[in-house]
């Protein structure tokens, strides 16, 4: 499934980022790389917000749809 399919407080592990061009590497560099554990904080309107070991990141919805995850 993709990141936007998660509800608030769901946890998941990142499998990979399937698109997004230039932004892909930035996501990796910010710690959203394969295997990273991520918690969904907010997914209602606009960009989603995830927590990565306490660090909050806002990610545009379009880009978040390219992030393939395994729900835990």
């Amino acid at each position: 499934m993709v990141l936007t399919g998660l509800k608030a407080n769901d946890k998941c592990r990142i499998r990979n980022v399937s698109g997004g061009g230039y932004a892909r590497k930035r996501l990796y560099e910010l710690g959203l790389n394969s295997g990273a554990e991520v918690k969904m904080v907010k997914n209602d309107f606009g960009p989603i917000i995830v927590s990565l070991s306490g660090q909050k990141l806002a990610i545009g919805r379009g880009l978040a749809q390219h992030i393939v995850v395994d729900k835990e």
Partner: protein, 661 residues
């Protein structure tokens, strides 16, 4: 003298540490060839002087943005004796990513493990010795905001100058390592200023800067070509490997709670970023900022400055008369210098209060939330959410506002953000509004100010939409932004930030505005023999020549025309000129009375619309030229707002007149 570079993520407390280290021994310049701010300072320790360079805050040292290029160029080419890497201990995993890159570059790194107090609050425990051993460099715990650990950090840094310790060898797994070595072998002896292994790694990562430097070299192209078919995604794999190195270190040296604790930030964010309340709260905050600016700045503080400037003026005037100085000297000093520059300086308290509140918003971490909340609206008009941050910076001054667009990596997003930034009303335009508000709407000052700024935002958004549909079509780049934890604003940071900007304003009054005022004073007394500041002077003739253009907008007087003309040099000059031509020695009240006589409420509104929207000042146009590297866009920046402003001002006046205002 030794040079120390400060490197760290945004929000890692790097700037706070820089301030603690260097105190007031700072100066701000620009990096050669670019407009990125370069902050330098120094401190003394046991008789030796240490020069500290604060590099731009970055997450990585790739070629992603100009900031990152500057930081990495300085680490390599600036050959600092030590690089202090400021690491946010409460967010250690991601912060160490930058550390791994510094180690790859072979920099002489000392890690300042900052924000130890926040880490403790989050129940994160760090084994400093273990971490230091695994990274192969000194690690020193600090809390820069509370000035703790600073002595140790200075000792450790000085010690590192002579005892270089970075000697950890990285492994990225056999296949990457092999290719790094192959490329490095070819590059060896070619006389590069960079470590060859780092060059090789960057080339494999697909770093365009480095590739353009080496891919023409013999043998390199073949190796790079051969790596394309081996099924490895080098770009992302190398990032993954850095993170596995970090994870192995974290496992050994850092203890973290398995469950995330709900922090105060989470609770505040529930409200401030909520779908229903986020936008109204943001509006309310901005409204309060302007309301308070008006209340504290003009009613409370403003009076003193005004009285003081009036007092100085009288003192100088009577002094000059007593030594029977020539009339022209008195005229220049009193009507020109003090009248013009004084009219601008009167607004220092207001500017101070506005900058104070903007600095607080910035320091608390609210700005990134504002960008988050606005992303929807911004995207609806074809803009990137981050554009909003550059817009808010523009409230202070459009020059840094335009520079702040550098965080937008997509050319289209950036161009639009640059072209709409001047609609964000800057601090220099504030005095104009204040004079007119004091003259016509004194009872609703805060509201009037809020409306002016809101109209500016509305035009910025409108033109964002227009540009994204016409000049710059295409997709906006993706939105990725960190939402740092809320922090209590720290008085020294806020005050320093405010002071730097206020001082800049005062300096401009003393230099640019003084120069403009001098030129206009000369124009006002020639041809010799005319009544100074009269319609017969050169100044009056110029005004008279332009005036018909503004007649349909209701302010076709030579005085208003000449002030708008001067405003293209610098916006503060508008009030300075009005002060000179209307009031002589222009302490506020006198100028306000003159304005009341010369304008009607309706023509005042159309004049305000004109000053809000028309051609930005020379400094902004020069910045647009620098940032876009094109005269075409600089000219465009000067022309289209003027046409827009004129049309809007005429519309306001004509429609208003029809409605009987």
């Amino acid at each position: 003298m030794y040079t120390i570079a400060l490197v760290g993520n945004p929000n890692s407390g790097k700037t706070t540490l820089f301030n603690v280290l260097t105190g007031s021994n700072q100066h701000v310049g620009n990096w050669p060839g670019v407009t990125v701010e370069k902050k330098e300072g120094s401190f003394k320790h046991k008789g030796a002087i240490y020069n500290v360079v604060d590099l731009p805050g970055t997450y990585s040292l790739g070629a992603y943005s100009e900031d990152e290029l500057i930081a990495r160029d300085f680490v390599i080419k600036g050959s600092p004796d030590v690089v202090i890497n400021v690491v946010d201990a409460s967010n250690i995993d991601r912060n160490l990513y930058l550390t791994t890159q510094l180690l790859e570059m072979g920099a002489n790194v000392v890690v300042a493990l900052n924000m130890m107090d926040e880490a403790t609050n989050k129940k994160i425990e760090v084994d400093i010795q273990e971490l230091s051993k695994d990274l192969g460099v000194p690690v020193i715990p600090t809390v820069a905001a509370k000035k703790s650990g600073i002595e140790d950090l200075i000792e450790g840094t000085i010690n590192a100058i002579t005892n270089r310790s970075n000697n950890v060898e990285f492994s990225y797994g056999p296949s990457i390592d092999e290719n790094v070595n192959r490329i490095a072998d070819v590059l060896k002896g070619m006389g590069f200023n960079y470590p060859v292994k780092w060059l090789a790694l960057k080339a494999l990562e697909g770093d365009k800067e480095i590739l353009s430097l080496i891919d023409k070299k013999e043998g390199i192209g073949d190796i790079l070509e051969s790596t394309k078919s081996d099924g490895i995604d080098y770009e992302l794999d190398i990032v993954d490997k850095r993170y596995s190195f970090i994870n192995s270190i974290i496992k050994k040296g850092v203890k973290k709670p398995t469950e995330e604790i709900v922090t105060l930030t989470d609770k505040i964010d529930k409200i401030l970023t909520s779908r229903l309340l986020g936008l109204p709260i943001f509006g309310l905050i901005m409204y309060l900022v302007f309301q308070l600016t008006f209340l504290v700045g003009s009613d409370f503080l403003g009076g003193y400055v005004e009285t003081f400037i009036g007092f100085i003026g009288e003192l100088i005037a009577s002094g000059l008369e007593s030594i029977s100085a020539p009339d022209w000297v008195i005229s220049f000093l009193i009507e020109g210098a003090i009248g013009g520059v004084g009219a601008v300086l009167v607004f220092v308290p207001l500017i101070m209060v506005l900058y104070f509140f903007l600095a607080i918003l910035e320091d608390t971490g609210y700005m990134s939330r504002a960008a988050y909340i606005m992303d929807g609206i911004m995207r609806a008009v074809g803009l990137h959410g981050k554009t909003f941050i550059s817009m808010i910076v523009g409230f202070g001054c459009n020059v840094p506002g335009i520079m702040a667009t550098r965080t937008l990596e997509n050319k289209k997003d950036r161009m639009i953000a640059i072209l709409i930034n001047p609609f964000m009303s800057c601090g220099a335009r504030l005095p104009i509004y204040l004079v007119f508000i004091a003259a016509f709407f004194p009872d609703h000052g805060g509201l009037a100010l809020f409306i002016i700024y809101a109209v500016g935002i509305a035009f910025a958004l409108l033109f964002g939409k227009i540009f994204s549909k016409t000049l710059f079509k295409g997709e906006s780049s993706h939105f990725i932004m960190e939402l740092p934890p809320y922090r209590m604003p720290k008085a020294p940071v806020v005050l320093r930030d405010m002071w730097e900007k206020v001082w800049d304003f005062v300096k401009r009054a003393g230099t640019v505005i003084f120069a403009v005022v001098t030129i206009l004073w000369i124009l006002s007394v020639f041809p010799l023999g005319v009544e100074p500041y009269s319609q017969d002077s050169l100044l009056g003739k110029i005004g008279e020549f332009i005036a018909p253009l503004f007649a349909p907008a209701g302010f076709g007087s030579w005085q208003a025309s000449v002030s708008l003309f001067a405003g293209i040099a610098a916006k503060e000059a508008v009030v300075a000129i009005l002060g000179m031509v209307y009031a002589g020695v222009s302490e506020g009240t006198e100028l306000v009375t003159a304005i009341q006589a010369a304008f009607t409420p309706l023509s005042a509104v159309s004049f305000l619309v004109m000053t809000l929207l028309y051609t930005p000042c020379a400094a902004v146009i020069a910045t647009v030229k620098k940032e876009t590297n094109s005269y075409k866009w600089a000219i465009f920046m000067a022309v289209y707002p003027f046409i827009l402003a004129w049309v809007m001002a005429v519309l306001v006046f004509q429609v208003g007149s029809l409605l009987g205002f």
